[in-house]
Amino acid sequence: MNLWAIAVFEFQRYFKWKQEIISLGLMLLSLVLMSTWPLLKTWLDNDYKVALISNAASPSISGFQISQLPPDLADTALSGVGEVWDLVVQVKDNTLLITAESSASWQDKITPQLQDWLQKQRIAQLPLTAEQKTIVNTLPEAQLIFLKKDSAKQNKEQQMVSGGLLILLVIGVFSGFGFMFTAITTEKQQRVTEQLLTLISTREWIDGKILGISLFCLKSMLTTGLFLYLMVQAVSLAKGKGMFLLPITAWELASAVLFVSLGLLLINSFMAGFAATIDDPNHSSRSLVMFLPTVPLGVVFSAMDNAEGSLMHILSLFPLTSFAAMPMRMASVSVPWWEWLVSLLLLLACLFWLKSAASRVFELGIRMYGKEPEWSLLLKTFLFARVKE
């Protein structure tokens, strides 16, 4: 009963309707801007003026206004570079001579397209049949065949899902870090601890706090995730690619939520314990310890490009990294059910142990004012047992 009352109170401390509505408004604004950006860009961009000195039919290239000029006007065109023309293109001895006033990034966009145009002109001049010309102009088709069903689902969308998940995890972990750090150190400084510890036990308090703040972190991840999904969807629709469907199943999504939720509880337990040992957040060496939970994310990030590699295998089973590694692996490859189960059980066991250890550290630190526990005492309490006051 108290656990839920504490969790709800902690959640509501950070959940403010006004702030949520402002964030949602800003997200929607970004969404509208993102989805209309291609249209806006086309509308706002001026086409570059290109003079093509050639008798052959000129190509049509988006963003460029190409005017075809006869070879005798080449000198006139070249004298107008920078004023009349942004670019003058000549063809001499099968070589493209592109003249501009100065170097600019947009020139990289037109160069390969002009090369392609010239290549086609040259092929057209060869003594080949129409069928032969088609063969020369078309790239051969390639088909990928996988013997193991669904063994490598790696494609652009799946990498995008893994990357998105990592971004969300970073948001969740850093939210937890911020809230735990400020909430607990402020409560200690304002002596809220004295009042609450006469009403509830330290165990009840830390459990409720971890649950409330983890739920808030999960909420932040879900709202940001939903926004990212809508953004991708809007861009996809604006580009005319149709609806973007997440390349993961409902089961994989549910698994990801489960692992991530347990991961947040794990990380917030650690942070709550150590935040309680900090007396003054501005001058404490303990603050650095609070950054430790970001290490698993860094490790998983470095291994995520090879979802089938041994390292990712180990990370998805190791309980301190599995909450991040397992969902990412599942987004890329099919994970055997027993590995999933082993990973989940190890994560649950680790959560149970870490929460008990963090409770002991919390109990040690929360009533200590004006000084911080020694490192040795802290380590002893964290690893072994409750130390007497």
Binding site: M1, N2, A5, I6, F9, Q12, R13, Q190, R191, V192, T193, E194, Q195, L196, L197, T198, L199, I200, R367, E389
Partner: protein, 325 residues
């Protein structure tokens, strides 16, 4: 029924002895005051009573509703800490509702208790204000409500009058008196001696962690000022020498031409004193001077500090002599 007995309690922080072998007993329905200057050990004693810290030595026994306990049951008491401990960024209602829920109150109990206490302490219009928007006095009132919401059997209040103006001090005083009448036991620490004098049934005076005096106001007066002073008015002027010549008079101070203050010599009774005084001149008035608690408190702390420094000097001298030998 509630009884708290503390025996030879000791508590040290690093090298400082905050509480040194202090014993006392609090009976059900009493208002028990802990007095002493800053650093006397009052808050340390209170923190041990509520179980926030444990004594290094000694024992605290609690008898509550016929049961012998070593700690106070959480739901039976309300605690007002010295450093006010509520959430500054939450409203009065959110703070009090949270505390009420943690105390196990139902929504309807909470609602009626909030209405009752907030009306009583003029906070009804400030229910939706964040705590950091309230004055210190109003924050103090919110803190007090958080202690009494659940109608506890025992109230433990560390400096409940600090931050309150005289009108609100009187208000809190009347609330505490009413709570006492309804059977609530109150343990409090304070510096406002005039209020304590009117409020407390029993008191404990501490200085530098040590017990200086304890008991009712009358008992404490006798313990702290054994010399009893009398004020005497004569119908005519009497010389100081003549008064000091009386065997029943120990000390004499002149206040006015015909008015003096004097103390009784040990071994003499008040009637013997009156007899000797009447022999000098006719008496216009004779009364015993009751020193204020404030006066007693200052004298007691001063005397205790002097005693401590004398015994420290004696120890240092002994050590020096020992070293020389």
């Amino acid at each position: 029924m509630l009884r708290i007995s503390a025996y030879q309690i000791e508590k040290s922080y690093s090298t400082v002895k905050a509480v040194n072998r202090v014993s006392f007993e609090v009976q059900s329905g009493q208002i028990f005051a802990l007095l002493g200057p800053n650093g006397a050990g009052k808050s340390s004693l209170i923190r041990m009573l509520v179980g926030l810290t444990r004594p290094d030595a000694g024992k605290i026994n609690i008898e509550f509703k016929g049961e012998q306990l070593s700690t106070l049951p959480k739901r039976c008491y309300g605690y007002l800490p010295e450093d006010r401990g509520l959430y500054q960024d939450r409203t009065v209602r959110q703070n009090l509702t949270y505390i009420g829920k943690l105390r196990g109150m139902t929504a309807s109990e909470l609602d009626s208790a909030l209405r009752l206490w907030c009306d009583r302490l003029d906070l009804s219009e400030k229910m939706e204000d964040n705590l950091n928007k309230l004055s210190k006095g109003n924050q103090q009132k919110v803190q007090l409500i958080s202690c009494v919401l659940h109608q506890p059997d025992l109230l433990i209040l560390d400096e409940p009058f600090s931050g309150l103006d005289p009108v609100n001090q009187e208000h809190v005083l009347s609330i505490l008196t009413e709570l006492k009448q309804s059977g609530t036991t109150v343990i409090l620490s304070a510096h406002q001696m005039a209020l304590i004098e009117r409020l407390a049934d029993q008191m404990l005076l501490l200085n530098k962690g040590e017990l200086v005096a304890q008991g009712s106001l009358a008992e404490v007066s006798v313990q702290l000022d054994p010399k009893q002073w009398y004020e005497v008015s004569f119908t005519q002027q009497i010389s100081t020498e003549a008064l000091q010549g009386l065997t029943a008079v120990a000390e004499c101070n002149r206040l006015e031409a015909t008015k003096v203050q004097l103390t009784l010599n040990p071994g003499y009774s008040v009637s013997q004193l009156l007899q000797q005084l009447s022999g000098l001149a006719d008496l216009a008035d004779f009364s015993r001077i009751q020193p204020s608690l404030h006066q007693l408190y200052l004298t007691a702390v001063q005397n205790h500090n002097q005693q401590q420094s004398l015994s420290k000097q004696a120890r240092q001298q002994q050590n020096a002599e020992g070293d020389a030998a």
